[in-house]
């Protein structure tokens, strides 16, 4: 108060009374609204919950195998190979007598871990590049976007083959390999969004109060492109699980004996007619997870994407 002097302008008449009632109602932010819209979408919520459950199971894998399946993912039992689903192996065993359920749970760690890590890396790099290119524009924008164009025009599968020869794929390198292509799309998306948000007056208004570029970008631009990012992230998980599974299947991804959903399929293709459950269970897991993440992604887009409103 004191810095503002003692002469208040409160004598100015304002249309007060009509707003009193309004002032007491609950403040609805963009986020609250979107969140409520998302909650109203039952199928979307179910899909999201399923992914959360799968992620929780994957995270708590040792607990599950300890109390539920009682097998080790790499525990070979040469006397019990190709056992059909049932007792004692709920989902059967593979050619080395390893428990399929246990390996699926552990494989989920790798597959989901790679998927989330990839999305994380691609989003971080893509967002940074997109924000910088969109905000500063001019030559910086030209350079960065031409790099993105190049990245997006590399035939991904050859890059993956080359990279997995150069770096022995483990979950972390695999995530980086996939993200090295994935960030380009995110950068484009974010840049486009920044270009439109940048035109709005509040950016100029924020500059006019003496804010630095960094503050402008991080505090004012980023929250405004966040909806697009959330949508990209939730749709991205499914795609990346598929890419990862394909790479594993081709032997370019996670290497055996480490279990991943993709390489469990690779091993089992030889036994397709002999022990079909070895194909069905990993395949079904991938199918359901990708489907759930796509359904969830669409629900998130319906709820969050400002352009759909």
């Amino acid at each position: 108060m004191s810095i503002l002097g003692q002469t208040p302008a409160t004598e100015i008449e304002a249309p007060i009374s009509t707003f009193e009632g309004a002032a007491t109602r609950h403040a609805q932010s963009y986020w609250n609204e979107s969140w409520e819209r998302l909650r109203d979408n039952r199928i979307g919520v179910a899909a999201g919950a399923l992914i959360l459950v799968l992620a929780a199971i994957a995270l708590a894998a040792p607990l599950f195998t300890l109390f539920l399946t009682h097998y080790e993912p790499y525990g070979i039992d040469l006397l019990g190979t190709f056992q059909a689903p049932g007792h004692p192996h709920l989902l059967g065993t593979d050619e080395l007598g390893r428990d399929t359920l246990t390996r699926l749970i552990y494989g989920g760690r790798v597959t989901l871990g790679v998927a989330f890590l990839t999305v994380g890396i691609a989003l971080t790099v893509g967002t940074t590049v997109g924000l910088v290119a969109g905000y500063y524009g001019r030559w910086l924008d030209d350079i960065l976007m031409r790099i993105v164009d190049m990245v997006l025009s590399i035939p991904a599968i050859f890059l993956f083959i080359l990279m997995s020869i150069l770096f022995r794929p483990n979950p972390i390198t695999l995530a980086m390999i996939i993200a090295s292509v994935g960030w380009g799309g995110v950068a484009r998306l974010v840049r486009g969004e920044v270009l439109s948000v940048k035109q709005r007056d509040f950016i100029m208004a924020t500059r006019s109060i003496g804010a630095r570029d960094v503050r402008l970008i991080v505090r004012h631009l980023l929250p405004n492109v966040l909806p697009v990012l959330i949508v990209a992230a939730s749709l991205g998980v499914g795609q990346i699980i598929l890419i990862e599974a394909a790479l594993d299947f081709l032997g370019l991804g996670i290497q055996p004996p480490t279990a991943s959903w993709g390489n469990m399929l690779t091993n089992s293709e030889s036994y397709f007619f002999h022990s079909i459950w070895l194909v069905i269970f990993p395949g079904l897991t991938i199918f359901v997870t990708v489907l759930a993440s796509n359904v969830f992604g669409n629900a998130v887009r319906d709820a969050f994407d400002p352009r759909l409103k």
Binding site: G5, I12, A14, A23, Q28, F202, A205, S208, I209, G210
Partner: protein, 329 residues
């Protein structure tokens, strides 16, 4: 005369476009003293907004090619970007035309109103919010403590403009630049906002630069007025004198093109013939001469200089400078 607070000398701001250079501000000079109100009028594209933005050095992608902006003895066109940031929002605040888009939709209004004090006075969140709430109250927002927690979209246009004004005032700036603050508002709200700006000017002693294309707003609010055309100042002086005896044909035509209460009955409004000039390819001589009904031979060749005409006014016009009175049907 109180000492000058802000002085702009021969400012030139240029935009490079594919079609050529646009001289958006072409040799503008003015000054403003503490507590004064200055109106800048002109039609769209006359350079009034760019002049204001150039003072704040926010004219990007335009470039200030020459001239000085002297504030507190320092030339703002020469200081570093860091010093400029200190001045923006602290010494010189700005209010924009469209309150609908001037607030960031993702933050609570109070948070945004508090942003300048947090940036400049280093107040913590709670203290800054206190300042913001009290300021929101002063600009006439009812139950400011509750409203500060609302998001901009829960505010009406007039309330948002009040919030913008509150935001500008939290740091008690010495100069407030209002760039068409009422253009996007309806007439009753316009009156309230102008009233508020008048109070701000009187109570806080903030020198106010009001940019508008609405002559009525200037008449009601500003002590002095500056008329711009095609990036140049064509006339300036005390508002009363300029309105009573315009010394530039553009001002003269402008005043005859708007309805006024004291006009003769049945007198038709007279629009200004022709179109505003192409800023890339300005007419030679006086930029207004193709639309001017008083033009003389000289107007087509020589660019008129801003000179004293009459007792209190300055006008850039060869006709009135030679003593001719502006009269006509």
């Amino acid at each position: 005369m109180p000492p000058t607070l802000l002085e702009v000398q021969d400012l030139h701001t240029v935009f490079a476009t594919k079609a050529g250079k646009v001289k958006a501000v072409d040799g503008v000079s003015f000054e403003i003293s503490p507590g004064e109100t200055l109106g800048i009028v002109g039609e769209s594209g006359s350079g009034k907004s760019v002049t204001a933005l150039s003072v704040m050095r926010l004219q990007r992608p335009g470039k200030i090619v020459s001239g000085k902006v002297i504030f507190n003895g320092r030339d703002l066109t020469k200081v570093s970007e860091g010093e400029m940031r200190e001045i923006r929002g602290q010494d010189i605040a700005m209010i924009f035309q469209d309150p609908m888009t001037s607030l960031n939709p993702v933050f609570r209004t109070g948070w945004q109103v508090a942003e300048p004090v947090r940036l400049h006075h280093g107040l913590d969140k709670a203290k800054a919010m206190g300042v913001a709430v009290s300021m929101l109250g002063k600009v006439g927002i009812p139950s400011p403590a509750t409203r500060a927690r609302d998001y901009p979209h829960q505010f009406s246009g007039g309330m948002r403009q009040r919030a913008m004004i509150a935001m500008g005032l939290t740091t008690t700036p010495k100069v407030l630049i209002a760039d068409e603050p009422t253009t996007a508002l309806d007439v009753t709200i316009q009156a309230q906002i102008l009233d508020l700006l008048r109070h701000v000017n009187r109570d806080f002693g903030t020198a106010t630069i009001l940019i508008t294309h609405n002559l009525g707003v200037v008449a009601g609010m500003c002590e002095r007025v500056m008329v711009m055309y095609a990036g140049r100042v064509v006339e300036s002086g005390p508002t009363v004198d300029v309105f009573a005896h315009p010394k530039h044909p553009y001002t003269w035509s402008l005043l005859r093109s708007i309805p006024r209460l004291d006009a003769e009955r049945h007198e038709p409004l007279k629009p200004i013939e022709g179109l505003p000039p192409d800023l890339i390819d300005l007419p030679t001589g006086c930029a207004f001469h193709p639309r001017c009904q008083f033009k003389i031979e000289r107007c087509m060749h020589d660019v008129p200089v801003l000179n004293r005409v009459g007792e209190t006014q300055l006008a850039a016009c060869w006709v009135t400078q030679s003593g001719t009175e502006l009269k006509g049907a």
